[in-house]
């Protein structure tokens, strides 16, 4: 079977999804820079793990990891090299593409063994099939492309020792600032997302959106109009320039459903909308919708939810 090289950055659901997709294509050799990533690779069926020991690799941005990946791809001549479609995954893939003069497919949601990839174009309005025509298939895999399926095994672990070359020390990570994650589920991975838009009207009233999310055990999201207006922090923005979500339930309140917003949520399994404008585009994609004032509808729904619990 073809060898599938996979970059595993951490133990996230997204990384597990990439491993699951890779396994359907052939024998997986994972590249992990830490123990958590290496053990995820074993849990999700990698036959082999390149465990990289590179002191100081995290002190610099992109370059040192890119060098390690380029070397490993050169040595192992895989049929596919897959990375998660995150900012880091895409940056690394771009470096590999230039170094090896190979094509790059970003944000793929499916891959077949013959290399045919499925990609969304135009914020998901168009579905494209594409393929690398030269060399191997280098692709970044979109979050939420499939359900991760564990396949625990005991991969052969090969330790790769690397030094961070001086030429890779140009962009220093001077500081990492993590904003408190809070008690709610992670937006990108949540099973339920309740998002508020401009219609929520103020940051105080976002508390209502939070209460609904908490009653359902979900994460809170927001449209760009809501984050731009300062109703809710930018990191919760869903859409083209925010987070892409693919939950079981997406509940949009006071959101019109602009193309750029839909780009980040249209693969949700069930979409529910509350909007006072019956012509809002969001209703065109909703499985269930209520036309009316969110300040009437949500408190009543909350009461009914509490009663049912």
């Amino acid at each position: 079977m073809t060898d599938i090289l996979v970059y595993v950055p951490n133990s996230s659901k997204h990384a597990a999804e990439v491993l699951t997709l890779a396994r359907s294509l052939g024998d997986v050799a994972a590249i992990a820079f830490d123990d958590a990533a290496a053990s995820l690779a074993g849990e999700y069926g990698a036959a082999k793990v390149h465990k990289v020991e590179a002191a100081g690799v995290d002190d610099y941005f992109v370059d040192p990891k890119a060098t390690v990946l380029i070397d490993l791809v050169r040595q192992s001549t895989p049929g596919f090299f897959l990375l998660p479609s995150t900012d880091e995954g895409k940056a690394l893939a771009a470096r590999v593409a230039v170094a090896l003069e190979t094509g790059l497919l970003t944000d793929v949601s499916g891959l077949e063994a013959d290399g045919t990839a499925t990609q969304d174009a135009f914020a998901g309005a168009t579905v494209v099939k594409s393929k690398a025509t030269k060399g191997f298939t280098l692709a970044t895999v979109k979050q939420g492309a499939l359900d991760p399926a564990p396949a625990p095994g005991s991969p052969a672990v090969e330790t790769v020792t690397a030094n961070v070359a001086e030429s890779d020390q140009r962009v220093r990570v001077a500081e990492r600032v993590d904003e408190p994650a809070g008690d709610r589920p992670n937006l990108a991975e949540a099973r339920i997302v309740v998002s508020g838009g401009r219609g929520v009207g103020s940051s105080e009233d976002f508390a209502l959106v939070e209460r609904v999310a908490d009653a359902l055990g979900g994460a809170v999201g927001a449209s760009r109009a809501a984050t731009d207006a300062g109703y809710y922090p930018h990191k919760f923005q869903v859409g083209q320039t925010g987070t892409t979500v693919s939950p079981q339930l997406y509940l949009a309140v006071g959101i019109s459903g602009a193309i750029q917003h839909r780009a980040g949520m249209q693969t949700s399994r069930t979409i529910v909308a509350v909007n006072k404008d019956a012509d809002a585009p969001i209703f065109g994609m909703a499985d269930f919708g209520v036309v009316g004032d969110l300040f009437e509808i949500l408190p009543q729904a909350l009461e009914a939810i509490e009663k049912r619990k």
Binding site: F61, A94, D107, V171, R172, K235, Q300, L302
Partner: protein
Amino acid sequence: MNIVVLVKQVPDSGLARQLDDQLRVDRNGANNVMGELDEYAVEAALQLKEAHGGEVTVLTLGPSQATETVRKTLAMGADKALHIEDDAVGGSDALATSKILAAALGRLEWDLVIAGAESTDSGMGIMPQMLAARTGVPALTGARKIDTDGTAITVEHQRANGYDVLTASLPAIVSVWDTINTPRYPSLKGIMAAKRKPVETLALSDLGVDAAEVGPSGANNEVLSAAERPPRTAGQIVTDEGQGGTALAEFLAAEKFI
């Protein structure tokens, strides 16, 4: 400090877009605009120029109608532009595009290149890193804030749950998200002044790029087919007449979300 801003003309992402019969982005419609994130790149460049002096040069690769986008950047306040236009470019993949843009960057003098974090048509978000690899300068991508003293540069690299502070020496390449600033509108005076600003147009041969390396013949990927995403089946829409919240809860319960 001399800055090059990379801008790409794209079909308006808020309107319906399509692929043409060769499965390329249809750029012949009337709805072409400056890449929506590239406006933030132009604004960032203008603010740095206002603080540090120097010149802002706009670089674009695209068909003749991309001139409109170039004019807009000049009207916003950029000083001059280089427009790479060649019929052989259509159908190029990102790798080939990066070859052409890197060659063009080689002809310009700059301390800093500023790009959008991603284009809003193909939306790959990889060009700035590809250009860093080709030009050999550091890349600080995905910025929500830029600080520079003209020698070193510091950016806040935006992440889902916070940010990283990145530092490097100039020359460097930076890409920006829409959180970085609020782009200005061209003023009437700016629009008038733009008419007199120099725009140089060059072809591939001027850059020493072989046409066979770009376009469909040079591409490493091929689009096999494209289809409209099937619309979601119409759902049930109810109008609130005092029962809307209860109806919502009932739906959620029936779908086992409660």
